[in-house]
Amino acid sequence: METVFGIAVDGVAYGMILFIISVGLSVTLGLMRVVNLAHGAFAMAAGYVASYAAQTMGLPYGLALVAAVLLTVVATLPLEKLLYRRIYGSANELRQVLLTIGLTFVIVAGINYLFGPTLKRIPLPEMLTGTLDLGPKSIPTHRAFVIGMGAATILALWWLLERTSFGIRLRAAVDDPAMAAALGIRTERLYMATFALGTGLAAMGGVLGAELLPLEPYYAIRYIVLFLAVVAVGGAGSIFGSAAAALTLGVVDTAGKYLIPNFGEFFFYAALILILFRWPHGFFQGRAA
């Protein structure tokens, strides 16, 4: 029982991190039709910035998190205008893949130039290092924190997309770009805002998940396949799809690591093939945003 509980907690926490990072990719893919392989690099960059802010500059964890997210968003926003805008649209997959792989390499090289090629940590505040008692069980506070942040992200995104005018316009544009443009929705600004949202989520996930997806030089390349898989299964542009896919992957992978070491990914990818074979547009397609 102890194992099952441990798997559940670790798996859900891991899944939440995958969700926070992947949902940003999912939203940009759903709206702008861009396969952004540099998404993992954005998460990585934020992680390194937070690590530097916390370790070298001595900022508190929360402040380091906010600073890293803001800095990443501000730094990547010009990229939307300079690079991404040229490759939006589903007819451009190959160019998207190549451009964003190129961008990933440049970011990876830049990070290693700035911060060095060693594994980085973001020291947790004392508040998050202990365990949290939940009746008969106790779980690591950090895991609880991550799960809480993930749940909060789901709720916040749900609110943003269902209850705000930004969300209404975003969903309209995902459903029918031509109609949205005809209705006078300014897609350029919408794209930019969505890109910033996606990057911000990647950055947040990169910082929060540093304990689970360690910050190492090849982070951006190592994990992008996972993020893409979540999006493909969840369906581009679907929040709840991404959440379900990420949590499933998190639990399956974690269970695999505990029970049959390293076989989790095998099952996950086998499931991925079956799901995509049956539902080529993802399991949750149809529910835009």
Binding site: L98, V106, N112, V225, L276
Partner: protein, 339 residues
């Protein structure tokens, strides 16, 4: 020109007859082979201490060429092509360790294995398009890698499969310590592979695949089945990728998990795009350029290399959508002096 002038409707054709090659086809056809053979032999004499690297380059070139058949001729964007390479490499390696050590037989084993996995997975995934297809190709490669990782008894898992000791080529040429036989063997395989691949892309099936890449609906209107063409060419490319994997296994004596890795698939795509798609010899150019520069830059600091190749890729996408090979098509008219 007279035929063109007689037809007033051809408003913009005055430039077109120039696009025909000035050289007879037999010359343009022989050129890549001659360049490969001469260049390959020259490298053999010039860099006797780097034959290991050069051999890897040749095998990689065959792999990238097989990717060109898929990406360049069929328009299938794949990030999982290493699945076929790795399957061929492991199949040849396992057979070599346990049963047969004749290098040509091992190449055949690799080719069959690569072709079969491509046929099976291609039939399964090629109904998809865009991101879904991209993900499926990645997923297939990840599964193959995972299987190779788990089947330790056969593949050596993460330690790699070693102890591949091929017999002399044709019973005559022993694989020597300096890698001379390996290199020349790989060069011969690459050139033969190029000739066969070129024959295939110029066949009716190759023609149909190019049609599918451009307008699948039109192929259907002509009475053809786009998906059947794609699966056929995917399987054929799988044979080439499998042979390239087997060639690597034979000449290096070891097969590692990275031969099925995502990075290897992505690198192959980069090499192909560097050299230019849809030309076959572009694959060879791209591979030689990529791996040679990699060797030079990465030996000092791998991140210099990543910066370089990253900027290069971005530059190509933004400023040279057709790849390096399109450079000649763009520069040539300028060289000809404004026509």
């Amino acid at each position: 020109m007279t035929a063109v002038e007689s037809d007033k409707m051809t408003t913009n054709t005055s430039t077109l007859p120039h696009s025909r090659p000035a050289l007879p086809r037999i010359v343009t056809d022989a050129m890549p082979v001659v360049v490969m053979a001469v260049g390959g032999l020259a490298a053999f004499w010039l860099f006797p201490n780097d034959l290991g690297l050069l051999t890897r380059i040749l095998a990689a070139a065959l792999f990238v060429m097989s990717l060109d058949m898929v990406l360049g001729y069929c328009g299938i964007a794949t990030l999982g092509h290493a699945a076929m390479f790795g399957t061929g490499a492991y199949a040849a390696g396992i057979v070599a360790v346990n049963w047969v050590s004749d290098p040509l037989a091992l190449l055949a084993v690799g080719g069959v294995a690569g072709g079969l996995i491509a046929l099976a997975t291609g039939a399964l995934i090629l109904h998809a398009r865009g991101l879904t297809l991209l993900m499926l190709t990645i997923a297939v490669a990840q599964i193959v890698q995972e299987v190779a990782n788990k089947a330790r008894d056969w593949t050596g898992g993460s330690d790699g499969l070693s102890g591949i000791d091929p017999a002399p080529v044709l019973g005559l040429f022993r694989f020597d310590l300096y890698g001379r036989t390996s290199y020349l063997f790989a060069l011969a395989v690459l050139i033969v592979g190029f000739l066969v691949a070129r024959r295939i892309v110029r066949s009716p099936c190759g023609l149909a695949c190019r049609g599918v890449r451009e307008e699948p609906l039109r192929i259907a209107a002509l009475g053809g089945s786009p998906r059947r063409y794609l699966v056929s060419m995917y399987a054929v490319a799988g044979v080439f990728a499998g042979i390239a994997g087997a060639l690597t296994a034979i000449t290096s004596g070891i097969v590692g998990l990275d031969s099925v890795g995502f990075s290897w698939s992505a690198e192959a795509m980069i090499m192909l795009v560097l050299g230019g798609t849809g030309r076959l010899y572009g694959a060879v150019i791209g591979t030689v350029a990529f791996m040679a520069i990699h060797h030079i830059l990465a030996s000092t600091d791998p991140f210099h290399w990543m910066l370089f190749i990253g900027l290069f890729l971005m530059g190509i996408v933004l400023f040279l959508p057709g790849g390096i090979a399109s450079l000649s098509a763009r520069v040539l008219p300028l060289v000809k002096g404004g026509r």
